[in-house]
């Protein structure tokens, strides 16, 4: 049974009221205590920079967002496909497990400099691959876990129906795994943005949010740097919320 949804007023209004209160407090503290801009700029100043440089921030969001999205798609497709193969072939699963486990502990952004030399510093490829690798790990593990959740009674049912293993996979195994896949994708969605953004710090072409933050900060334009940070937050939230909504839609019927 699903729990009752809290009212629209509660889910939307409460965070807004809270957010406005925090911003007002922040503004009050910065002006009241005369905090220097390089330590913490006032929110209204950041807002003004954000509005004044809307095109630049939006451009940065587009570049980083595009890299994240491409990485998300590549990583998700590979993660899901390899998990299906691993679930079907036990030997492959045993061979892949240590490799994927190793991948999951390597700080993947550390690969960025290596990838820049491989693909050239003028291309976005390295950033997309970093994002793809970051996405791959949680998607692979969650999908594999999901593929193993088939209930014994459903397995018996499929055997009683004498269907082929592909029919059983489509009728029962994949739908059972789906909520797990989308949980993996939700975790991966914010990782994709963070990884693509941080990969920019290690080289590659300008234009993305990561490069813009560093260049604005190094030219002492703290308000602008924070405006780009704000853009990053919005981008990450957009990815996360999109994945969350899809997950909620898919998970609706996974109980019982």
């Amino acid at each position: 049974m699903r729990t009752a949804q809290p009212g629209l007023l509660q889910t939307v209004l409460a965070p807004i009221v809270f957010g406005v209160a925090v911003i007002l407090l922040w503004q009050g503290l910065v002006t009241g205590l005369a905090i220097k801009a390089f330590i913490l700029p006032a929110p209204f100043a950041i807002g003004a920079e954000f509005a004044g440089n809307l095109n630049n921030v939006a451009g940065g969001m587009t570049v980083t967002g595009r890299n994240s999205l491409i990485g998300l798609v590549i990583g998700a497709v590979l993660g899901i496909a390899l998990a299906i193969v691993a679930a079907l072939a036990r030997l492959l699963d045993e061979m892949a497990a240590p490799i994927v486990a190793a991948l999951s502990v390597v700080p993947i952004v550390a690969l960025a400099p290596v990838l820049y030399t491989m693909f050239g510093a003028g291309a976005e490829t390295a950033r997309q691959l970093v994002a793809a690798l970051a996405v791959f790990v949680p998607v692979y593990f969650n999908t594999l876990k999901g593929l193993r959740q088939v209930r014994p009674v459903h397995r018996d049912l499929m055997r009683a129906y004498a269907v082929t293993s592909w029919q059983a996979t489509r009728a029962v195994t994949l739908p059972t795994a789906l909520p797990f896949v989308f949980t993996g994708l939700r975790i991966a969605s914010s990782l994709a943005v963070i990884s693509a953004l941080i990969a920019e710090y290690f080289g590659g072409p300008v234009g993305g949010l990561g490069k813009s933050i560093t260049s604005a900060a190094s030219s002492s334009n703290y308000g602008l740097a924070w405006a780009y940070v704000l853009g990053s937050i919005i981008l990450g939230l957009a990815f996360y919320c999109a994945a969350l909504i899809v997950e909620k839609l898919v998970t609706r019927r996974s109980g019982g």
Partner: protein
């Protein structure tokens, strides 16, 4: 596929025999011959779930398996369904090896857990076997609608399993088992999780459905009244190792004549106490079919004697 889509008990040319391939009259629906099933248990000698069990079920006959937990009822049902294979002995369903009967879809099955697919509606769940076996969309829809009406869930066709009570889910599972008009129904404690009132209502419905479909039924239960009310014969099993202790012919008449008032019938109570005495392992009373009038001192484990 078309002839498996007839309305249960509908006016099929050629009459009252359900299913596509009509078994010859003298071929039993189920023939279990000298079957043993030993589950390997690590280094130990293993668990003998069934030991040299033989049993015939006639076409259209309703046979219940009863006995304390762990006496091998589910194991026997799973062997008939070819969800498991015997260690020794043979099982034939309509004269074919159990494996072939499963591949030919000669039986429908319902488990203790309804086992519905939560992402499919009631109609979608009932259509599942038809869909997997390549029945066209229109035929599937029609058949599902008939079955939903049969189990009295017409208002819930578009509901999902998590919106239904346990009893309703079980009715969907039974409708799903009936979808391809099997000549044999295998049911493993399908009403086990239901409250007493729902359970009696479901039993009445099952009697009605069986009268309509003419299917043979192998029904696992641990409730004595349920076994006696539903069955032509009650097979009493004993545990460790799982063996048939005795088979009680109930003789309460034709399925179509069974109604609620049967529960008050004298024959019903006589069979009830006969099965009860057998379960409590009193060898003197077995076979006489007469009530002893003695209240049993202890109940066999896992068996409801109410």
């Amino acid at each position: 596929m078309t002839d498996t889509l007839n309305v249960p008990g509908g006016d099929v040319p050629g009459g009252d025999v359900p299913g596509g391939d009509v078994p010859a009259v003298d071929v039993p629906a189920v023939n279990v011959h000298g079957v043993s099933r030993i589950f390997a248990a690590g280094k130990g000698p293993g668990v003998t779930a069934l030991d040299d069990v033989s049993l015939d079920v006639a076409p259209g006959e309703f046979v219940s398996l009863i006995g304390p937990s762990g006496c091998g009822k589910s194991t026997l049902l799973r062997l008939i369904a070819d969800l498991d294979v015997p260690t020794s002995g043979s099982i034939e369903v309509f004269g074919k090896p159990a494996r072939q009967a499963r591949i030919d879809q000669d039986y429908g099955i319902a488990f203790q857990q309804a086992g519905l697919l939560p992402w499919r509606t009631v109609a979608g769940n009932i259509e599942l076997p038809l869909e997997l076996h390549g029945v066209g969309k229109a035929a599937r829809r029609g058949r599902a609608a008939e079955l939903i009406a049969l189990v009295g869930l017409s208002d819930f066709a578009a509901h999902y399993p998590d919106q239904l009570s346990g009893g309703m889910q079980q009715r969907v599972a039974i409708a799903r088992a009936l979808a391809e008009s099997p000549s044999l129904l295998l049911m493993d404690e399908p009403f086990g999780a239901l409250d007493e009132m729902t359970r009696e209502r479901m039993q009445n419905e099952l009697v009605r459905i069986c009268a309509e479909t003419q299917a043979a039924v192998v029904f696992v239960t641990h409730s004595i009244p349920e076994a006696v009310f539903l069955s032509n014969r009650v097979v009493v099993l004993e545990p460790r190792p799982g063996r048939i202790r005795s088979i009680v012919g109930v003789g309460l008449g034709d399925m179509s004549g069974r109604g609620e008032d049967l529960r008050e019938d004298e024959g019903f109570f006589r069979s009830l106490s006969e099965v009860r005495d057998l379960l409590h392992g009193d060898p003197d009373s077995s076979g006489t079919g007469l009530p002893t009038g003695v209240v049993p001192k202890t109940g066999a484990r896992g068996v409801e004697t109410r």
